[in-house]
Amino acid sequence: MSALLAMIRRDLLLVMRRKSEVLTALFFFVVVTSLFPLGIGADAALLRKIAPGVLWVAALLSTLLGLHRMFAADYQDGSLEQLALSPQPLVLLVTGKIIAHWIVCGLPLVLLAPVIGIQFDLDASSLYVLMGTLFLGTPVLSLIGSIGAALTLGVRGGSVLLSLLILPLYIPVLIFGAGAVYANSVGLDISGHFSLLGALLILALAFIPWVSSAAVKIAIE
């Protein structure tokens, strides 16, 4: 457990030493979502309708921006090998890296979403639902993304390939996440969407760290 915490602490510390990379991803989220009203026009009814989809797609893309960083720097300077050789189980360390990635790239999106949502004229209940789905969904994005990040380590054109591998796997999260906000806005029951997102999160947490650490081992062997 202390290894997990140490890993999270180390990754967060590294990020704090170089804030620009994280801020780029967040800035991307804000800019992309702000471009839609400019491109489509300021029709409030239309904006309310497209808001969940736009916010979720932007969240998907901005988590993707940070994914490449999850293992790449450690792979290049050799510390990933040292981590794999350490007596601590690699699964735990990889989980720590995934959690750190979520704290840096996922959590800020959850907190920023209501501000962006107001730009899209969403009402209070939609904002709560949006935050809830992002809170459940973004960890799944970090988890699934870690597989792609590990598989594309040191590969030619890695970051483009990463998006090709990972975006199809993101689709279920996108559907249920954006679907919940939409269902709420038309007055349908949203508990089903939340249950499915929660199920995705639990399944991803249970299996993906093992898959990712296997992928890391393949990359460094």
Partner: protein, 256 residues
């Protein structure tokens, strides 16, 4: 290589011997014409049944006949993915090169089947639903399957070291298996525009006997075609990846 040979010397003789590319290569060469003949036979019979014997559908008229290529292609796209993932998994567990080569050879034909299924689906959708494409669960999940195939091929192609490419793409293939049951059950789990399954193991098929025969014959045809093409491709892959081995240099096909 040496490990698989040791296996074959003192245990379960035949099967492990075939896991060596040098033993499998000539066998595949002998099997290919056989599967091509079966492809032609099933294909001709299937086309004859589906165009001349099967009755006109009461609701959809002649247009329904695209089912004879659409449904088999969709079946094959899912089934090939499972087979590909199984080979990839075997390669990951037993560290056999031939399994990974089989997975590599299956990917393009699977992607082609997924594309064919979407394409014929679009042609069928236009007259029946009035739209080339709708965003319902089955179409979307089949599209994801196509993307998974393309991702698998792209990941393989961009890793230079073949052994690492084998393992990395195997992990991706195994992760993607989650999607296959979602496609298959999507018409049950969600209320979709796409019609439900016409054929099921547990209840009587919801279609005329001859239509069913046409579909099964076409499915067998595509099945044999996939095997024939995969074997041809795996032979090419074996030659490419074993180019350093003596038996490849001495084989007649390479010399001539």
């Amino acid at each position: 290589m040496s490990q698989t040979n040791n296996f074959s010397n003192h245990r379960l003789v035949n099967w492990f011997k075939l896991s060596s590319p040098s033993a499998f290569y000539p066998l595949a060469g002998k099997l290919i014409p056989f599967f091509w003949v079966l492809t032609l036979a099933f294909g001709l019979a299937g086309l004859w049944v589906s165009f001349f014997v099967a009755p006109v559908d009461a609701v959809q008229g002649q247009g329904y006949r695209i089912i004879f290529i659409h449904v088999p292609a969709s079946w094959m796209s899912m089934f090939i993915y499972l087979v590909m993932a199984a080979w990839a998994g075997l390669g990951l567990i037993f560290n056999t090169r031939l399994s990974a080569m089989m997975a590599q050879a299956l990917a393009p034909i699977g992607a082609w089947m997924a594309f064919l299924s979407l394409w014929t689906g679009a042609f069928w959708g236009k007259p029946m639903w009035g739209a080339w494409w709708v965003w319902d669960a089955r179409l979307t999940s089949e599209l994801i399957l196509l993307f998974l195939y393309l991702g698998f091929i792209a990941l393989r192609a961009s890793i230079d070291d073949p052994r690492r490419a084998d393992k990395a793409s195997a992990i991706l293939a195994l992760v993607g298996v989650v999607n296959v049951p979602i496609i298959y059950f999507s018409v049950k789990w969600w209320n979709t525009l796409h019609q439900g399954a016409s054929v099921s193991l547990t209840k009587a098929p919801a279609m005329a006997q001859t239509m069913l025969w046409g579909m099964l014959l076409m499915a067998l045809c595509l099945w044999m075609y996939s095997i024939a093409v995969t074997l041809m491709r795996v032979r090419a892959i074996i030659l490419e990846r074993e180019a350093h081995a003596d038996w490849v240099r001495q084989s007649i096909e390479v010399k001539s």
